[in-house]
């Protein structure tokens, strides 16, 4: 395969004497075949052009998670990313992971990410919820999320983590789901209760960026959706997140469409609504106030019947992980 010319535009970061980070972009020309990995080229730059370039790497096989960095605007494993797939007009832009402090160049302090992983207690605990008999299907859910290599890509691209220091983040929630859905776990309910607290599972904005960023197809957001379903099923309905979600199923079942007029009241309560009166007036200025009597669709009796049937005969529609067969 013939070689192409690429320009690596790398964010170089250095801690100044006052502790702040000095950032500048430096360009490095490289030649490579389109399927050369970004990591190979970073090593080449470090070896032949500038030995001071700092980045993390280890296994080169997409299993250690060390070389996750922003490549072409998204967090990716440098060892798994072909240079051509991320080049825009021959330029490959590389920066450190976001949402955590930068140490030097492309290396970040991974402490905040791991603090969050530890916060969900990433180990099986004794307790009353342990299943004593394991069915064939016992790991249908667990196996979705055990592929996580803790590379931090999802946390780096998380739009909620970008604006919230408190949010627990996608990887920790996916890990929490791994324990909540493990038949051996003894504290499933206690975990769900803790996951219902502010800045935990209900704070995810459902943007699915983590689904796209994850190099191991863990789909953290899908795990978050399943956690929420389990939380509500256990009666953990306090707080604006579950109340908002529950309002939808009430409205659709009764009227077929969403009653946006009362949605706020039902989500944040009277006090919350009063607090938001300023916003409500602001919206009213442009006539953006929903009607209290939304449009009714035809055939709503069908919906009521469907609801009734499913309440009487619940259907399991959860996606299942592929069976893992030992090699």
């Amino acid at each position: 395969m013939s070689e192409n010319h690429y320009t690596f535009r790398i964010q170089r970061n250095r801690k100044a004497a006052d502790g702040r980070i000095d950032s500048r972009w430096v360009e490095y020309p490289v030649s490579a075949t389109p399927t050369t990995t970004v990591l190979t080229l970073l090593e080449e730059i470090k070896g032949e052009q500038d030995g001071s370039l700092t980045f993390r790497q280890s296994c080169r096989s997409a299993i250690c998670g060390s070389c996750a960095m922003k490549i072409g605007g998204r967090t990716r494993l440098a060892c798994k990313t072909h240079v051509e797939s991320v080049a825009h007009n021959g330029v490959v832009e590389i920066a450190p992971q976001a949402n955590q402090p930068v140490l030097k160049d492309l290396a970040i302090d991974i402490g905040p990410f791991f603090t969050r992983i530890h916060a969900i207690r990433p180990y099986l605990e004794d307790g009353p919820d342990t299943d004593l008999v394991l069915e064939q299907s016992a790991y249908d859910q667990v196996n979705h999320v055990t592929q996580c290599i803790l590379c931090g890509s999802c946390y780096s691209d998380c739009v909620m983590a970008e604006v919230s220091q408190e949010f627990i983040g996608p990887a920790a929630l996916a890990k929490a789901f791994r324990f909540v859905s493990d038949p051996r776990e003894g504290q499933k309910e206690r975990r769900l209760e803790q996951l219902s607290h502010p800045h935990m599972m209900w704070t995810c904005a459902r943007c699915a960026m983590c689904v796209e960023s994850c190099p191991k197809d863990v789909k953290p957001m899908e795990a978050i959706v399943k956690l929420r379903t389990r939380g509500i099923a256990k009666g953990l309905k306090d707080g604006p997140g579950p109340k908002h979600a529950l309002a939808f199923h009430h409205d659709i079942q009764k009227a077929g469409s969403l009653n946006e007029f009362t949605l706020m009241m039902r989500t944040v309560g009277i006090l919350g609504t009063l607090e938001e009166l300023g916003t409500a007036f602001h919206l009213m200025k442009k006539g953006k106030v929903p009607s209290p009597l939304p449009h009714k669709s035809k055939g709503l009796e069908e919906l009521a019947k469907i609801y009734e049937i499913l309440e009487e005969h619940p259907l399991d529609v959860e996606t299942k992980a592929k069976e893992v067969v030992p090699e």
């Binding site: 605007g73 739009v159 909620m160 970008e162 604006v163 919230s164 949010f167 704070t203 995810c204 904005a205 459902r206 943007c207 699915a208 689904v211 796209e212 789909k219 959706v225 929420r228 379903t229 509500i232 604006p240 579950p242 908002h244 979600a245 529950l246 939808f248 199923h249 077929g256 469409s257 969403l258 946006e260 989500t267 944040v268 919350g272 938001e276 300023g278 916003t279 602001h282 200025k285 442009k286 006539g287 953006k288 106030v289 929903p290 939304p294 449009h295 669709s297 035809k298 055939g299 009796e301 069908e302 919906l303 019947k305 469907i306 609801y307 049937i309 499913l310 619940p314 259907l315 529609v317």
Partner: protein, 294 residues
Amino acid sequence: MRLDFAYYPGCAAKQVQKEADVAARAVANALNITLHDMPRATCCGAVSLRETKPAFSLAVAARILSEAEESGRHLVTICNTCLQTLTHANHRFKNEPELLDKINHVIVQAGVRPYQATIQVYHLLWVITDQLDPKVVQAKVVKPLNGLRVAPFYGCHNLRPEEIFDSAAGEKADHLDRLITLLGGEPVAYDGHDKCCGFHVMLSDKREMRAMVAKNCLNAKNAGAEVMITPCTLCDMSMGSFQGPAEKAIGQSIQLPEMNFAQLIAVAMGLNDSAGLNRLHVPPQAALAARGLS
């Protein structure tokens, strides 16, 4: 080619964001795209119903998809979240025949026609940029945007998860950029074009939601955008109507006019009566006038 669709505007377009619906109908009409109303269609349940009642949410989607299928038409929407919710269900029905059987077994008992999983779910933006000859669109542009610098804000639910959609999604999606160019504008590249508007945490995490709005709008503005467009009525609500509250939250003025993609097309096609610009919180008229569009 006959462009004939079952039209599913979504709850927001029927109420608070009705300007998007008015503009979409006018633009579709001008482009000979026929949008048929769906009298039986309910709310899709958005991301919430999937969490509270997963099986019910699939049944609700099957009932909506079945109505479109019975009319012999693919479904088209102007809300990203409706698009993702219905596409997610449709993708599962097409790939999990046993699941489709189970859901059909339930809806048939309620008198609903079973869904055969034969239709596609499209965004009106995709129909305009994928299925029409660009020349057909350009022929209707009587007021080219004259180099207007437009920030495309895609939102999340027409992009991710990439593998489910019936058009290019994820990092490959470029519909808005192509549309802006087609109308004679200049698409602005900025950090945030594929990020979240915060709509779904507007009530539960309002500080964070406002921070998202502010960040996306500021990034677009600092990259030189004169206006922003989105393909989603929920993004419109966040980035447009909540830009004021977001400004208040960060203590900084942004004032980036924001509108639905259909409204900007209406402007470029001279369909001013249907553009609904007076319903926008950050008025775009001055920015448009500066480019000779008024």
